[in-house]
């Protein structure tokens, strides 16, 4: 058990995985000499050479497409999109090619690749560099979707992603790279694919992932101060999503909210809320609430950016409202 940043944990996962699996190659813009736009791949090119750590031209569609072809022929490529916001131009290669090849070809050809990228707000990077686009990925059968929130998960989920037979979209959060936490390279936080309860509680369940997990945990702490005990569950592996533990928790507490940073309309939060609403119907005391990004592009102004996504305060207030039925001030 050591202390590590989220960034270093990801780097360590790549480093360790590449050491044991020579078929792993990295392809992406600035992953080599530059060491990654956020420093995640620093030094890997020195260790593994330019044949395995490949600096690519600014050609996102072909980067993803090349990863597909490399995966089909025996490599285990890690393609990197510098920002998830660039996924738009790659959705054909991702959703029509990577995701569907195994199926279309009757099981003959798998695509064991990982698409690493990062998303989210927090750097005033404006509308084209701050998005959370996991919902597009979740709507695509054949893809796996993973979004680590903790340092330990950053390591283990990436290691586990690098053993999957199918394409994994692995989305980091730009606001977490410098976060510190415990890393135990021998012990994952939970089984691959399973949600992890980060905090137990009896009054309501807050379901979240990626950076919003931390806002949710902060909210839960504040809630506890006023006697409301929130259970906080980290979804981690969003698709396929293991619903059983979520259903158990929601049935137990009767109240739940799903918290994401993405635009709420059409979000992962909506999917999870819809599933819980249908399966836990008779157990619910209150509707499943969704908290997410406002239904707007991300503005560059720091204050507006911050105001457009959930904060610990908003999560706290809403949860309290849900449990105590006392409306917060802003809901007057």
């Amino acid at each position: 058990m050591i202390e590590s940043t989220y960034r270093d944990a990801i780097r360590q996962a790549l480093l360790d995985a590449m050491a044991v699996d020579p078929s792993i190659i990295l392809i992406g813009e600035e992953v080599g000499l530059y060491g990654g736009a956020y420093g995640v791949t620093k030094g890997l090119i020195d260790l593994y050479g330019p044949e395995r750590v490949i600096d690519a031209p600014i050609s996102e569609p072909a980067i993803v497409g090349a990863a597909v072809g490399a995966a089909m022929t025996g490599m285990r490529p890690v393609a990197e999109l510098m920002y998830v916001d660039f996924i738009g131009m790659t959705m054909d290669q991702l959703a029509n090619q990577a995701a569907k090849s195994r199926y279309m070809f009757g099981g003959q050809i798998g695509v064991p690749m990982v698409l690493r990228t990062q998303g989210g707000t927090g750097r005033s990077a404006a509308a084209q560099h701050s998005q959370s686009l996991e919902a597009w990925v979740m709507h695509t059968p054949g893809l796996r979707l993973v979004m680590p929130a903790t340092v330990n998960d950053a390591y283990h989920l990436l290691r586990q992603s690098l053993t999957q037979a199918d394409p994994v979209v692995f989305i980091e959060h730009k606001g977490l790279y410098t976060m510190k936490g415990a890393l135990d390279v021998d012990t994952p936080d939970g089984a691959w694919g399973a949600p992890v309860t980060r905090r137990a509680g009896r009054d309501l369940v807050i379901l979240s992932y990626s950076r919003m997990l931390h806002e949710s945990l902060a909210a839960a702490d504040r809630l506890a101060a006023s006697g409301v005990e929130a259970e906080v569950i980290d979804l981690r592996c969003l698709n396929p999503l293991d619903m059983a533990p979520l259903i158990e928790a929601v049935k137990r507490t009767g109240r739940a909210m799903v918290v994401t940073e993405a635009v709420v309309t059409g979000s992962v939060a909506s999917e999870v809320a819809a599933r819980l609403s249908e399966t836990c119907f008779d157990w619910l005391e209150e509707p499943i609430l969704r908290l997410g990004g406002e239904d707007i592009p991300i503005p560059v102004s720091p204050a507006l950016e911050r105001g457009s996504i959930p904060s610990a305060q908003l999560i706290h207030d809403t949860a309290r409202w849900l449990v105590t039925r006392e409306a917060p001030e802003w809901a007057a």
Binding site: D92, S101, Q108, D282
Partner: protein, 345 residues
């Protein structure tokens, strides 16, 4: 990993036989459709483009390739089994893809077919990845992307060519220019019509070959394959003509009978036959025998496809993810969980 070198004349006869088999196959695909036995009508025949055999014959065992939506001929050229292909086109369980892919999504990992693609240009970047694999493993393999003139308008082609040149990949971009993308003649889609010129500007070894002459294609292909194997990526334009409509429903009203007559006169199969005869590589009886044999083979493929059984409904949930991972839950099961017994407190 060198190809067994046959005497040139035998090889030329083999190429003729292969082209004839492709043509016969495609004719049977047309019949399959007319009999109402194909899965859908998105069937794109490669009749007129059989000289692609010049390229497929320049490849070796272990080489890989991707094709576009008009890829039957290419695959037969690389050894595809017509019966399993036809069964796939009919959407049957013992087709290449268990009836899930159909005409536009045939693949065969064993023969190096990394997949036909229904997205124009969609399969092109995959050879860049294959090329990285072969470069890194020094396996001596090459990978070839086959696509139409229409894909010359897809940006991903240029991204891929640039990467191939930059990384010295053992790959070939093979454009089968049949002069049309659906109803659009190539001069209505290309601002400037020098396709090898474009490839050259990206640093590729670029050539154009006459698609009415399989031996000319083969000469160019052999040269490009040799260079590619040494890390110099290539581009080959096969200048051909699409004899029939875009898909089975298209009667090509946008072109004149005269143009079609001229185009169809550029027949690589007929030309090769005439050449075999003229050069004394085979006499008429021998050539007739080849033709008959091809016809019989493809009749059998057709019959097989029609007789084959369709996939069971439950197979639809298979192969979304790898074996061993839980299949997607069918809605019926989900609804039972929501409305069935035990669903209510």
């Amino acid at each position: 990993m060198n190809a067994v070198t046959k005497p040139a004349n035998t090889a030329a006869l083999d190429r003729y036989r292969m082209m004839r088999r492709i043509r016969s196959f495609e004719e049977r695909v047309g019949e399959l459709f007319l009999k109402g036995e194909s899965a859908g009508s998105m069937l794109h025949l490669s009749i007129g483009e059989e000289a692609v055999v010049g390229m497929t014959a320049a490849m070796q065992a272990g080489d890989t390739f991707t094709t576009h939506h008009r890829g039957h001929g290419v695959f037969i050229g690389r050894g595809g089994d017509p019966a399993r292909m036809m069964a796939e086109i009919a959407g049957k369980e013992d087709g290449y893809c268990r009836g899930k892919g159909g005409s536009m999504h045939i693949a065969d990992r064993a023969l190096g077919h990394l997949g036909a693609n229904a997205i124009v240009g969609g399969g092109i970047p995959h050879i860049v990845g294959a090329g990285l694999t072969y470069r890194n493993t020094r396996s001596g393999q090459i990978s070839v992307a086959f696509f139409g003139d229409g894909a010359m308008s897809q940006g991903i082609l240029y991204e891929s060519m640039n990467m191939a040149a930059l990384w010295h990949l053992p790959v070939i971009f093979c454009c089968i220019n049949n002069q049309y993308g659906m109803g659009t003649r190539v001069d209505r889609s290309a601002g400037h019509r020098d396709f090898p010129g474009r490839a050259e500007a990206f640093g590729l070894n670029a050539m154009r070959a006459d698609g009415a002459d399989v031996e000319a294609v083969h000469d160019a292909a052999r040269f490009l394959a040799g260079s590619a194997r040494e890390g110099r990526p290539g581009f080959l334009e096969i200048d051909a003509y699409r004899f029939y409509g875009h898909a089975r429903m298209d009667k090509s009203p946008y072109r004149t009978p005269e143009e079609e007559a001229t185009g169809r006169a550029r027949d690589p199969v007929a030309n090769a036959r005439a050449r075999m005869a003229a050069e004394g590589l085979a006499n008429t009886a021998e050539l007739d025998a080849i033709d008959t044999e091809a016809g019989t083979e493809m009749d059998h493929a057709l019959a097989h496809a029609i007789a084959a059984t369709p996939p069971a409904l439950a197979t639809m949930f298979q192969d979304v993810y790898a074996p061993g991972t839980p299949a997607p839950r069918p809605h019926a099961a989900r609804l039972m969980h929501v409305l069935g017994e035990g669903a209510r407190a």
